[in-house]
């Protein structure tokens, strides 16, 4: 009994809409802007949060990063014997203690950072000399391009060997064959034994100039350069004693990260009188970023929902006017023999075509807005696929929801009254 005419109904609906092009377009505007704003907001939100998440993820969700920080001057109560020297931060002992006593740890990597002038023949360049252990290369996943990375013996025997990054090597040695060259770092000479790939931009385990890092065994760093480091900052000379700048801790499973972090904190509190170590946990940052993203999405979703609601009400308004305007037509169709259901379908198809078309145009516009934002402000944007499906689905749903009432009203008109309508 409930036969539908399929495409013929849709064609008829489109034809009726084409008769009132301006009105149809104005009616659609609500949906167009609603959908466009949904997509634009999703794209900006998705882009921003993806960037943040990527950065955090690159730190490694199973890692915990301990960083030495200079304590506030009046803190700690134990004044340094030498007033020009500040002694603070992580110690080699901390590294050993962590490795020996804390459970669920995959690997621990100490990091010591010293700036030195590197010289090779006539060329010289300031490099950051990273004193570390072989595990570093596993932890930061830096592939070897040539030669080899540090081995256990290098650290045990304080071998005078170093590893360059690809870019550092190119800048320092130009075309010469790299491996086996002697390089002067500050007052000591090291042999280049390998080259690793440069980090991608934004690789955040280290400070931004890691592309010109050079890696040496930690033991060599400690024995060759001593534990004191001299910094020159704006003319004044500042002396610091820092054994380790960072300790990177990789936990065996993500689920133990927080527990390990608590254990590390307790340990640091016991052995460090001053607050001179900062703990950062990428996983926590990741969770926070994800929670922020969810909140963000809910807020954006509500705003977009309101604009779509406004669009829907616009459609309903126009369709109610259209029903009144076309009362006579409804009467004629009913007299000819159209069933109520067919009148409902006719009006419903019109609103769904209207809102669906508005949705499609809105998606188009919604693609252009993030593009323009990226072009103009440099913010990353990303239109999520689910956003497209969602906003198109919602606009069709709006057509059905807000079209149903006018359609049913049209169908429930008594045919005689409808025919008599002027």
């Amino acid at each position: 009994m409930w036969k539908t005419h399929g495409w013929r109904d849709v064609r008829l609906g489109i034809k009726d809409l084409m008769l009132h092009k301006l009105r149809s377009l104005l009616t659609m505007l609500g949906v167009i802007f609603g959908v466009a704003s949904v997509i634009a907001m999703l794209a900006v939100g998705e882009g921003a949060s993806r960037q943040a998440l990527d950065q955090i993820r690159r730190l490694g969700s199973r890692n915990i990063i301990l960083t030495s920080v200079k304590p506030v001057a009046d803190e700690g109560g134990q004044p340094n014997r030498n007033s020009f020297m500040s002694v603070y931060g992580l110690l080699e002992d901390d590294f050993l203690r962590i490795r020996e006593t804390i459970a669920w740890i995959q690997r621990v990597v100490p990091v010591r950072l010293i700036r030195k002038m590197a010289a090779l023949g006539e060329r010289s360049l300031e490099l950051r000399v990273v004193g570390t252990t072989p595990d570093w290369f596993t932890l930061v996943r830096r592939p070897v391009i040539a030669g080899r990375i540090l081995g256990p013996n290098d650290d045990d025997q304080s071998n005078m060997v170093c590893i360059l990054t690809e870019r550092g090597a190119r800048r320092l040695l130009a075309t010469k064959s790299v491996l086996g060259q002697k390089i002067r770092l500050g007052g000591s000479v090291f042999e280049v034994i390998g080259i690793v790939a440069s980090a991608e931009a934004g690789g955040a385990v280290q400070a931004p100039d890691q592309n010109v890092d050079v890696y040496i065994p930690l033991s060599a760093s400690l024995s060759r350069y001593g534990r004191r480091i001299t910094y020159r900052t704006s003319g004044t000379r500042e002396l610091e004693q820092v054994e380790l700048h960072q300790i990177l801790v990789e936990v065996t499973e993500e689920q133990y990260v927080e527990e390990v972090a608590r254990a590390l904190e307790a340990m640091l509190q016991r052995f460090h009188k001053k607050t001179d170590v900062k703990i950062s946990i990428p996983l926590t940052l990741l969770r926070q970023a994800e929670a922020t993203k969810r909140t963000f999405n809910i807020v954006l979703g509500s705003i977009a929902g309101i604009s779509l609601l406004v669009g829907g009400i616009g459609i309903m308004n126009i369709m109610l006017a259209s029903v009144t305007e076309r009362t006579r037509e409804i009467g004629i169709r009913r007299a000819i023999g159209a069933r109520r259901g067919q009148i409902v379908m006719q009006f419903l198809i019109e609103t769904v075509v209207l809102s669906g078309l508005g949705g499609v145009i809105g998606i188009g516009v919604g693609f252009l807005i993030p593009l323009a934002i990226s072009r103009l402000s440099g913010l990353p944007t990303q239109v999520p696929l689910y956003g497209l499906a969602l906003s198109f689905g919602i606009s069709v749903l709006i057509g059905i929801v807000f079209g149903l009432y006018p359609a049913i009203r049209a169908a429930n008109l008594h045919p005689i009254d409808a025919l008599r309508h002027e």
């Binding site: 005419h5 037509e329 169709r333 023999g337």
Partner: protein, 240 residues
């Protein structure tokens, strides 16, 4: 052909339309209008009947009931020996779609559709494919002499032409009954006569026709004239 018998419906099964003591009462608050008051009549297939009477005598009300656009308040209406009273809205729609063609005083074409699409409309609701609908529209446009106007819109046609389109549309579903409520009311007398001639041709082709008119000159085209006053059937005149 058996005569039309008012008041006393015949037992003769050879009737296409039979009213038995039909009443139609419009209630407006506590006020009620008795638009049809105990109307009984029988119409045999193939008749051409004119309905006449003063304004407000219930002619249009009678036509609406005949056309299954409305149901009687009391009494029985048998269309092709089927009682219409028990039918729901969908079934009444189906009856209109398959058995009845309407012609109105004000033409009632759908303004945004072309002549072709207006004629095709019943075929559309009958779910015929568009090729069949097209062929039928062409055939009927030829019949009413408008085959060169198929792609025009109603507003581009004269009143007489519009009414011819309406007749073509009323014929599209090949109905058994054609109901025309003052089909020439908005037309000059010459055009009115052309319309009447078309109706006569339809009647000759076997359609039962009931037509409301005020003009006795036009009523003379019919085989019988039914006079109404105050919702009652006054008398029936036989003969052309």
């Amino acid at each position: 052909m058996p005569p039309l018998i008012p008041q006393q419906p015949p037992v003769d099964p050879e009737t296409i339309i039979r009213f038995e003591h039909v009443e139609k009462i419009y209630r407006m608050g506590d006020h009620e209008v008795r638009a049809l008051d105990d109307v009984s009549l029988a119409i045999s297939p193939g008749r051409f009947l004119a309905v006449m009477g003063a304004s407000g005598s219930g002619k249009s009300t009678l036509m609406n009931l005949l056309g299954c656009l409305d149901k009687p308040t009391a009494g029985r209406y048998l269309l092709e020996n089927r009682d219409v009273a028990g039918l729901d809205d969908n079934a009444l729609s189906a009856l209109r779609l398959r058995r009845i063609g309407f012609i109105f005083q004000s033409f009632n074409l759908i303004p945004q559709l072309t002549v072709r699409e207006n004629i095709e409309l019943p075929m559309f609701y009958l779910d015929r494919d568009s090729a069949t609908g097209n062929r039928r529209a062409l055939e009927l446009a030829e019949l009413v002499g408008l085959s060169d106007r198929l792609d025009h819109r109603p507003a581009q046609l004269s009143g007489g032409q519009q009414q011819r389109v309406a007749i073509a549309r009323a014929l599209a579903n090949d109905p058994v009954i054609i109901l025309a409520d003052e089909p020439t009311g908005n037309l000059d007398s010459k055009t009115g006569r052309q319309i009447m001639e078309l109706l006569v041709r339809c009647n000759a082709a076997g359609k039962t026709i009931v037509m409301v008119t005020h003009e006795s000159r036009l009523a003379a085209y019919a085989q019988a004239r039914l006079h109404m006053s105050d919702g009652r059937v006054d008398r029936v005149e036989e003969g052309a």
